[in-house]
Symmetry: none
Subunit: 253 residues, 2 copies
Amino acid sequence: MLAVERKARIIEYVRKQRVATIAELAQIFSVHEATIRRDLSEIEQDGVLKRTHGGVTIEEWANSEASFNDRYNERLDQKMRIGRKAAELVKDGEHIILDSGTTTLHLAKNLVHRSNLSVVTNDMNVAAELRDSPGIKVILTGGDLYPSSYMLNGMFTDLVLESLHVHKVFLGIPVLHPQHGLMHPEAKLAQTKIGMIRAAQQTILLADSSKIGKVSLHSVAPNSAVHTLITDKGVSENDIKQFREHDIDVITV
Amino acid sequence: MLAVERKARIIEYVRKQRVATIAELAQIFSVHEATIRRDLSEIEQDGVLKRTHGGVTIEEWANSEASFNDRYNERLDQKMRIGRKAAELVKDGEHIILDSGTTTLHLAKNLVHRSNLSVVTNDMNVAAELRDSPGIKVILTGGDLYPSSYMLNGMFTDLVLESLHVHKVFLGIPVLHPQHGLMHPEAKLAQTKIGMIRAAQQTILLADSSKIGKVSLHSVAPNSAVHTLITDKGVSENDIKQFREHDIDVITV
DNA sequence: ACTTAAATGAACATAAATGTGCATAATGAG
DNA sequence: CTCATTATGCACATTTATGTTCATTTAAGT
């Protein structure tokens, strides 16, 4: 079994069970515990799962009852800067999609006082953040609530996205490669992102530098589908050059 | 068992039992009492549970402002009772729709510990209430977020409802007339409720007695569309008789 | 208020999990 | 095929979670 596939299966398994021990996973996949630990370290980097002693869990269980809006403390500074810069790309009167995720939640916070916007999102936190803004029409895509999270995915999400057309989509992505493009370890979430890209005229990627250069199982889109990438200064010159060769406007903040 | 899992289960247990002793928890999870104490200290930090000598209880929000407004509390009590009774009508393995509203939210609170349920709702609060329940699959209909609320309505809501089929819908309704049936003052919300009724084999109405006997602009459905009405004892015998003539099973709590 | 038994928190001991360096096996390119 | 690269397994020093003990605090009854 390929490493990326094993990682994808680990995520699936943990999402379903909510917790898993290292020993348990090592037995399931017939690999050494050290291998599972390495896998989990990488997966945690993607922000998908949270490690604990003896095992792993979905993020929301780790800080048992983090309230509606305040569980976004990792790489906070970078994400805030990226979110602020992204907000500058939103013009009054536009219709936009905001993907689920902590970075897009920061973007949403920067849009609160804007007017005449229509915002489509599959993230309940994003929707909650914008619901009191008089100038913003909030549309939540339907879908299955991902276990213990606030994201919506699945058939109904895709159904709604299919009948939508917006100016711009702001997409978070856990894995981005200079050559192989956008990837995601989870099939369902990858599908949602594909739908979002299709619904938008312009795709704007929000990804801090830790996401760049890795690979993952499911392909979301090639780099040519992206118009703009907002990231931080931790990206190598060589990577930036390669993205620009795909006609991506790279903005570092 | 992982520490995070134990903590999550402690919260779950105390939520269900309202109180628990240290000794009790130590025995349940087969760990030393000191470990439980450490767990509780951390959980208390999150503000979910409140420690006492010898044990722990849930943080009470209802009692703090108890006699604030008698009439409000009377309604609250009715709604809680209606919600509890409605939960009895839900069987394991069923697919149900929960309408938006405070009464259905109380129903949702009574479903938290159930298993093998699929719950469709257009209320973000209901979805949030159920999101941590391992036995419940939560599906949020999409739609426009109603200004300053947590309800979803509009075209996308209708679109999703059209492709759904469930066993039962639990519907809140602001206006119910013994002859003229279900009504609603707002066209969009009326439309959503029509869609929900169409998607379900059985329609169960949750309406305290204050809603009964009035009229409103938009008709949602005739009384013949309703299978069960759960209300409180404030309904007149005459009204009940008329509902029963429409083959409605009237339950007063 | 006083007494008593239980619960608590802190300090320490112990067992388990972790990360790291290195050796080995698998994979891919030329 | 050979070589380079990556992934995996293994051993061990370090860290973390849990168990144990005990002086101090708290709750309840008289």
